[in-house]
């Protein structure tokens, strides 16, 4: 079926089977390869993208169910929270293998959009669906706190 998608601020037309998960449309039709396949069942969070400001697992979202949802992937992140998170991730040298990190960053952006000063417990609740087999969790936590401090600073 033909679909019009709103991805990273642009309108994109694709022709795919309607039950195709958003993840594979992003990766194979639109060439947005930063969003990763990890489990195919919304257990690991490697495929996390933003729909509006809400993190969603693109591996389990049929593209036909997207409607007029506005999707942001790692390639299209913008805005204060996103830049603060990405800066903190780089400054904190968070990634090891790096495979889950697009999803981690998307999750952290959504958290900071909803909560300007998350506690450790807030971070646990928001981020426990984003698995990291290298267990970079110490640095993920530090980076989210650093991004929150950055956002509090002078604009």
């Amino acid at each position: 079926m033909k679909l019009i998608l709103r991805i990273n601020g642009a309108t994109r037309q694709v022709e795919v089977d309607g039950d195709t998960p958003l993840l594979w449309v992003l990766r194979e039709e639109l060439g947005l390869l930063g969003t990763k396949f990890g489990c195919g069942a919304a257990f690991c969070g490697a495929c996390t993208v933003l729909m509006g400001d809400v993190p969603v697992r693109s591996c389990s979202l049929p593209v036909s169910a997207l409607g007029d949802g506005v999707v942001t992937t790692i390639e299209g992140i913008a805005g204060r929270e996103a830049m603060a998170v990405q800066r903190a991730w780089i400054a904190g040298d968070v990634p090891q293998c790096g495979y889950c990190q697009s999803g981690q960053i998307m999750g952290a952006i959504a958290l900071l959009k909803a909560n300007k000063r998350p506690t450790d417990r807030d971070i646990d609740q928001a981020m426990s669906g984003n698995l990291c087999r290298c267990a970079t969790y110490v640095r993920i936590r530090e980076a989210i706190h650093a991004a929150a401090r950055d956002l509090e600073g002078p604009r």
């Binding site: 795919v16 990763k36 396949f37 069942a41 293998c97 790096g98 984003n130 990291c132 087999r133 290298c134």
Partner: protein, 743 residues
């Protein structure tokens, strides 16, 4: 160690802006090749950009930064102008783990240990020849010149950049053994430099195997036999599958499985039986391939191992623990006699750990393009040589006709040394005559993956009047990794062979034991197994340290004091134990629920010794205990990059938390039962403890590190639970009920 190969001018590119040197036409200019290769490892562009070769795949461990850091320091390169590219195909890139032929691969925590010494020389050779080239141009002696961050500075302060000098330097002979830097002069080694791959991994730009795009490529998804020994007997609905949207082909895949290596080789043998055990659906898009593969109606014969089950495996473990006969690995003093004489006072404990699996977050995948008898492969490949050999063996193609491209690996932990998934992709591409990217779903990756062996332990001791061990018998049983995959690494004795990985951390343990017997019993199984981060030590050190905890507990002696006494002859061991106890305020803060553990991780073939001690603190979380904080003291020799080393401490302990608390593969009907992260969970951020790293200074060269912090974690947690509740724990994963707080 000096690379003996002739230097060549590689990487043909656009004509460079070479500065003419003394009127001598450089070979680069005369051939039109822009970027001269100075050594096997170093290419310098005219604009000064330096490309450093990386022979070890980046799986997350940091080699992409740490190994170039060593080269760049000796080279006196400008770190801001360094680029890294993966290189293959030369002897300089090969390493041997034991006394065997060298091959190119990553594993066993060997990369920095082995390459530290090897990379300094080519770095220094390049610096020396660049200085000599400048000196020749200025008509001064090399001794009057020096290198400074990518520039050679002459006696009058003249400056020539490496980029300007490279074309000329590439024509000069290399010094065989140029002087290396005094460590006091290191500009990069020892600095906590940021990883070179971080930006790409924070922007989505890093290319993992799964991200490879080849023009005209199709996608493959598979269904495999449920049983490890299974074979395909029928596809009942092939015609219907071929009619599904996007489907191009249904390809029967030959069984490729880990087997014993060829004699003299040192990577996994991949044998291919006459049977087929999987079917690949090739389609225009992955989702089409996956949906069609799910719809396949396949008939399998379960084969000889079709009755494999967890109950059967556990039965074998317990029988082996109690067997009369075992292979003696170590025997010092008179352990058998003393245990027999004092049989009434023997302390005995038995333990088990299950099979587990690597579960890297990037599922195994590969892209293959078979065309006119030549083959190009792209993928997350941890062992280049093993992969090439497996393709040669399975498809009969000549090694020279294969081109391998190694991408970033989205985790591996040993899994992506075994190239079964690459061979499957090649078969699919050959069948359809187009490039194919084969991706295993998580279910196909986990259930039909590669596993770490199980183990059982039976430990017996008699103690002296103070409670310290007088005689100890340590027996470890289970599926032997070396027996299954690497017979040449077994230690032969008149009684039979033993596998050092089964008793890693026991046969080579450091405590003072006057009478000591170490034994093993192999229980062969049809489970496909291979090396997994920290290999046998996760099981063996859990057993061993838990047994030491038992002896200290019975003696009524503080766990730290007990270990300290038994390590009184070993200064380096004591130093790391004391360091962790001091950081954790073991003496100053009594009453904390915690455990302490120690292990010296000895590299394969005795190549390195890394000392590790941990203190794990538990804290109440509702009606349970949670792992709150882990102090980890390490003596890893010289630390090339404290940033990446600290990351390995943090991440290694997190990885070990998963194994200690969550991981168990069970078997039924000849295969594994777990299929995704719902039934094979990984640690999430809410379970991650605070980590306090303590890195001790050392004059020793770099020792292995990627695996060393894992093993001491589980026994320290178990000891803390013993202290908190008196409960003795004899298995991994640690039982959930053991964390319940006493009422």
């Amino acid at each position: 160690m000096t690379p003996a190969l002739p230097r060549r001018l590689l990487f043909a590119g656009t004509a460079g802006l070479l500065v003419p040197l003394g009127g001598v036409p450089s070979r680069a200019q005369s051939t039109g090749v822009a970027n001269p290769e100075i050594t096997d490892w170093i290419v310098i562009a005219p604009d000064g950009e330096i490309t450093l070769g990386l022979s070890q795949p980046e799986v997350g461990q940091g080699s992409y930064t740490v190994l170039p850091q060593i080269l760049a320091d000796e080279l006196d390169a400008d770190w801001q102008r360094v680029k890294v590219r993966f290189v293959t195909g030369r002897d300089a890139y090969k390493i041997a783990f034991k006394n065997e032929p060298a091959v190119q691969k990553e594993g066993a925590s060997m990369s920095t240990t082995v390459l530290y010494a090897r990379l300094r020389t080519p770095g220094a050779q390049a610096r020396e020849v660049l200085i000599r080239a400048a000196a020749g141009h200025w008509k001064v002696t090399a001794g009057q010149c020096r290198a400074d961050k990518g520039v050679v500075v002459g006696p009058q302060g003249q400056r020539l950049s490496y980029g300007a000098l490279a074309g000329w330097a590439a024509r000069l002979p290399l010094a065989a053994s140029p002087p290396l830097k005094d460590p006091a002069q290191f500009a990069l080694i020892g600095k906590p430099l940021a990883r070179l791959d971080t930006v790409a991994k924070c922007t989505g730009a890093a290319v993992f195997g799964i991200d490879v795009v080849v023009p005209g490529m199709l996608y493959g998804a598979i269904q495999s036999a449920p049983s490890f020994t299974g074979s395909l007997t029928a596809i009942r609905n092939e015609a219907e599958i071929l009619k599904l949207p996007g489907v191009r082909a249904v390809v029967r895949l030959p069984a490729v499985h880990v087997a014993n290596e060829e004699p003299g080789s040192q990577h996994p043998g991949i044998t291919q039986g006459p049977r087929h055990n999987a079917v690949c659906v090739v389609a225009d898009r992955f989702w089409q391939a996956k949906r069609a593969a799910d719809a396949l109606d396949l008939v399998f014969d379960p084969g000889a191992g079709g009755d494999l089950s967890t109950a059967k495996i556990d039965g074998l473990l317990h029988t082996a623990m109690m067997a009369d006969k075992a292979v003696t690995a170590v025997e010092t003093g008179r352990p058998r006699e003393i245990l027999q004489e004092r049989a009434a006072s023997i302390v005995e404990r038995r333990f088990t750990v299950p099979h587990v699996t690597h579960a890297p977050l990037e599922p195994v995948n590969a892209t293959a393009s078979w065309k006119d008898g030549t083959l190009e492969v792209w993928g997350p490949i941890q062992a280049v040589a093993a992969c090439q050999d497996a393709i040669v063996a399975s498809l009969g193609i000549k090694a020279e006709a294969i081109r391998l491209n190694v991408t970033f690996l989205g985790g591996s932990f040993g899994r992506k040394i075994v190239p079964d998934y690459v061979v499957q992709a090649v078969h699919a591409s050959k069948a359809v005559g187009r490039p194919v990217k084969l991706i295993r779903t998580r279910e196909q990756d986990l259930r039909h993956g590669i596993f770490r062996v199980n183990a059982g332990g039976r430990f017996r001791a008699v103690v002296d009047q103070r409670g310290y061990p007088l005689a100890v018998q340590a027996r470890v049983v289970g599926q032997s990794l070396f027996g299954a995959t690497r017979k040449s690494w077994l230690d032969q004795t008149p009684e039979g062979a033993w596998d050092e990985s089964m008793v890693d951390g026991i046969y080579n343990q450091d405590y003072r034991l006057p009478n000591f017997l170490v034994e093993t019993v192999d229980t062969p199984l049809p489970v496909p197994v291979y090396f997994m981060r920290s290999v046998g030590s996760t099981a063996a050190v859990f057993f061993w340290e838990s047994f030491i905890s038992e002896l200290a507990h019975r003696a009524g002696i503080d766990q730290y004091d007990y270990r300290r006494e038994l390590l009184s002859d070993n200064a380096l061991a004591r130093r790391v134990l004391d360091a962790v106890a001091e950081a954790a305020q073991w003496k100053a803060r009594p009453g904390v629920v915690r455990g302490i553990s120690y292990n010296c991780y000895v590299g394969r073939g005795g190549r390195f010794r890394t000392y590790v001690a941990q203190v794990v603190e538990l804290a109440p979380a509702g009606d349970r205990f949670a792992v709150k904080r882990v102090f980890c003291a390490v003596d890893p020799g010289l630390v090339v990059n404290p940033n990446t080393l600290t990351a390995q401490i943090q991440g290694g302990i997190g990885f070990a938390m998963t194994t200690a608390l969550l991981s168990r593969i069970t078997f039924a009907n000849g295969g594994a039962e777990q299929s995704n992260f719902l039934d094979y969970p990984l640690l999430a951020i809410d379970g991650m403890p605070e980590i306090v790293p303590i890195i001790l200074p050392s004059d020793r060269p770099p020792q292995g590190f990627g695996e060393v912090v894992l093993a001491p974690l589980a026994p320290a947690i178990a000891q803390a639970l013993l202290q908190a509740s008196g409960r003795r724990i004899d298995s991994l994963p640690l039982p959930v009920e053991a964390f319940r707080r006493p009422a």
